[in-house]
Symmetry: C2
Subunit: 323 residues, 2 copies
């Protein structure tokens, strides 16, 4: 009863092989292919699963299924991924379940990347003591998940878009989604980088791009932000202050609506900035609460970088019990 | 199996007597006493229940219980109402259940005024076709309710505060709650009146206060706003445009988080302004949606002014089935 879990992202593919107690027996990580479109990505996933099995000295014949957490629009029933703007040439509807299943002769279950990561925290991570919570995952964008009575609430399929809570309706910053004033317009790495490049072009001082170059990155990764903060870079400080301001407002509003027991902060940026970031979000949230004397617990995600893949592996068992 | 339902508000007490099919057999409405504090209000409720029974030619001996929807902090278990700023001299914790029960020798169940009104719409009104929805009730303030899988979601007891979703985090309007930028700061009648008085003091033209005086009101009631809108009063138009702007943003954000099937607009102001108000809120909401091609239904509450009392009567049966 081993399972493979795949966290499919725009920059990397992370695979784990987990046992029935959700212990990670093997893991493998590789960059997402930038060319070749969905077939190349599918082939890379299959190869990464074989590598993860080898890493854990596991026979693939002992793996009963594969779970994949993917970005874009997921149709779990149909087994398709569509409109995944972060993946190369993936605006089409691609039958990932069928294609991956054909390569490894194993059943494949699909889920939304952020939702499976939140579910992993609920079942196995920081969310274990709680029955209601929200997950806020800060990465390139800001994804989320809402947990009600121990279950992810999906609504009509699209719930959890906490990054697109509008925190500044008039005169808000532009969001990668095309709207203005969304929390993600302040707290998503993509939006933060656009603002940083704009300010740099205006001659404002920052080490952000020197750190990026020194680390041979093309983007302001979470690691770049972390290092800039350690060096007390003024632009990084200012942009992260804006991010925390927006996160505090959006999370406070959501808590006013749902009065959940806990808020879990994760995602690449959240994990990299860690507990001080979580504490500052909590401090920014409290003034927005109708009941500030009874705030929810605000916690850092526990499962780290493997959380998405571990959560994807859970899809194998949880989907099986579906009607 | 008849029940009495009481909608206890800052300006009026509305009582209904309802039968097991939730038909209203009798009703009575009276102003909330402004003096005498909680005991006077309790006495007035008891008298209003007797009057409603008389109105329906119902023997009080056939009534099995009383449900009360009240503002402020409700402890349903303890049967107390506290911090009800809209009620006269009611900042204390008052044992309303026990005191009302002693007067009529009937069991009393308490609930939050907005939550019971939303529940009535869910069970008996506009919400019947849906399993997930939010209710947004615009009155003196803006109350709300969240319905997940056919049940009101109460969180840790304080969920549904949709009026305190922050729509303008920087430079937002002052809200009666003491914070800034809450949706209620734009869409609650109390906040709208404060703004109207400020603008009038600055000499901006409006008929709002003439209409108020002609109708012998001391406040800008929902009826005053309705009449001013019919006369195309510029200040009323401007303030209601702001209200719709804030409602569209806060409701859009909540739909992005929860992806509910429906949004129900009620409350004194919502009911008075009716379908055109609902339509304009829908139009203001759609640009905020992550999935604008699949918006929720936005509907006017169906049960009208009696909804709160009808919902309060439901407390009698629903609480009985609690563990």
């Amino acid at each position: 009863m081993l399972r493979a879990g795949v966290d499919l992202g725009g920059t990397k593919i992370q695979v784990v092989i987990s046992d029935p107690l959700n212990r990670v027996l093997g893991a493998f990580r590789r960059p997402t292919p930038r060319t070749g479109g969905p077939p190349a990505v599918t082939e890379a996933i299959a190869a990464a699963i074989r590598q993860a099995a080898a890493d854990g000295r596991v026979d693939l014949a002992d793996v009963t299924g594969i779970g994949v957490g993917a970005p874009g629009h997921i149709d779990a029933q149909a087994g398709t991924v569509a409109n995944a703007g972060n993946l190369p040439d993936w605006m089409i509807t691609y039958p990932l379940s069928r294609e991956l299943s054909a390569r490894l002769r194993l059943p494949v279950a699909l889920g939304n990347d952020v939702q499976v990561a939140v579910n992993a925290e609920v079942r196995l991570g920081a969310g274990r003591p709680y029955h209601s919570m929200i997950g806020v995952f800060c990465g390139t964008g800001v994804g989320g998940g809402v947990v009600i009575d121990d279950e992810l609430w999906l609504g009509r399929g699209a719930a959890g878009e906490l990054g697109h809570i509008c925190v500044q309706t008039e005169g808000g910053a532009p969001c990668p989604c095309g709207r203005r004033g969304c929390m993600e317009a302040y707290a998503g790495r993509a939006a933060m980088e656009i603002q940083a490049r704009r300010w740099r072009a205006l001659g404002k001082p920052t080490q952000l791009f020197d750190i990026m170059a020194a680390r041979q990155r093309e983007r302001l990764t979470s690691g770049v932000w972390y290092r800039a903060m350690k060096r007390k870079d003024p632009m990084a400080k200012k942009l992260l202050k804006r991010a925390v301001w927006a996160l505090g407002s959006a999370i406070g509003s959501t808590v006013n609506a749902l009065d959940v027991e806990a808020v879990i902060i994760g995602g690449g940026l959240g994990l990299r900035l860690g507990q001080p970031f979580v504490d500052s979000i909590r401090d920014a949230m409290i003034p927005h609460l109708v009941a500030p004397q009874n705030p929810p617990a605000v916690l850092l995600a526990e499962l780290g970088d493997l959380g998405g893949a571990i959560g994807a592996a859970l899809l194998v068992t949880e989907r099986r019990s579906d009607p």
